[in-house]
Point group: C2
Chain length 209, copies 2
């Protein structure tokens, strides 16, 4: 599964109850359509799929409020809540490429208590370091052959560079969190999160930009 389930669960969760179009708008507000596969089709599909799997509860709502076809509102079930945190932790922990999952995880990181977030990120750094070592081990010529891989060695260099860069960024975030940045779970009210109802989306595809 890509980042879509995490994004959709997180968006619904922040509203308490939301219909597809609201989710779609929030994701656009966060810029998610630029760094993830948050297309309408994927969002509605994820909503239906997760409702079928018992992660979301669906409510049919009268087709009135503002025009358009009848809509369905969703809200997280207990299982959905669990799955949300499972996906969130995984997104922050896993060092695999998938930039969209990490980005989504960062976007929801304040839903975790500070201590847990820091712990996850530290484990992320450790995983990155181990992965780096493994890449080097795997792609280094076993004995005398110095340059046997030719330009293929560039792939290794690229991965090593990515691992180092990712670890450096993660360490920076850890420091900021340890320094008390942001309002985490259980520390009071959050500030900016979703588009307040009724406010037009300032980032809704306006052509230029």
């Amino acid at each position: 599964m890509s980042a879509i389930r995490l994004l959709v669960l997180g968006a619904v969760r922040q509203h308490g109850r939301a219909h597809g179009y609201q989710v779609r708008n929030d994701l656009e507000f966060w810029g998610a359509h630029e760094w993830s596969n948050a297309k309408p089709g994927s969002i509605y599909h994820a909503l239906k799929q997760m409702a079928k799997q018992g992660l979301l509860r669906a409510h049919d709502v009268a087709p009135s409020t503002a025009g358009g076809p009848p809509r369905t509102e969703y809200e997280l079930t207990g299982a959905g809540e669990e799955e949300y945190f499972r996906l969130l932790r995984e997104a922050l922990l896993r060092h695999d490429q998938k930039i969209d999952e990490l980005t989504a995880g960062v976007g929801f990181i304040v839903d975790l208590p500070r201590a847990e977030a820091i712990d996850l990120l530290k484990r992320r750094v450790a995983a990155l370091e181990e992965w780096r070592a493994e890449v080097v081990r795997h792609w280094t010529p076993p004995d005398g052959t110095p340059d046997a891989w030719g330009h293929i060695g560039e792939i290794m260099k690229f991965w090593v560079h990515s691992a180092d860069s990712g670890a450096a960024w993660t360490r920076g975030l850890i420091e900021r969190l340890e320094g008390g940045a942001y309002v985490m779970a259980g520390e009071g009210e959050r500030s900016v999160e979703v588009l307040p109802e009724g406010v037009p989306n300032p980032y809704a595809a306006p052509g230029a930009d």
Copy 2:
């Protein structure tokens, strides 16, 4: 399209003529199953799809050589050759996340003349710098509001970091190419590329690792 078409076209091209299993083995030899969606199903699907689209020519071959069901060999058509270079240039040029495409592009970079490869990479650096500037512009509070984005600003920091890191790596590769590293297109025979026929794949999933 993900990296799969580029990988498959490149693999078939290096053999001149190849069947699905050969392609699959090559990709595994390059470690592609670890950083791309190079699963058997995707590979065979891509071969058939591209044959249908006229990028590959299919030849049915007697089911003899080494056991297994009858196999089909493929070879690039003129259109396939064109598409290969189009995808290769795009992979090196585009700065979008998609790590697998860039990795595949690096793997085939020696199919380009040295001057063109360097030019593409320089344009890549320029694109990354422009993208970085745009991210900063887009996510910086317009006027007095200093920290309006809260932790969402972390997403911006992450992107900026990625852009800088990607640009640094690209500059390194440019330097190596300008220094004469590797044998590029039109500069003589290449060294390591595909698994020679008959040699067992030393990286074929051996369970542990």
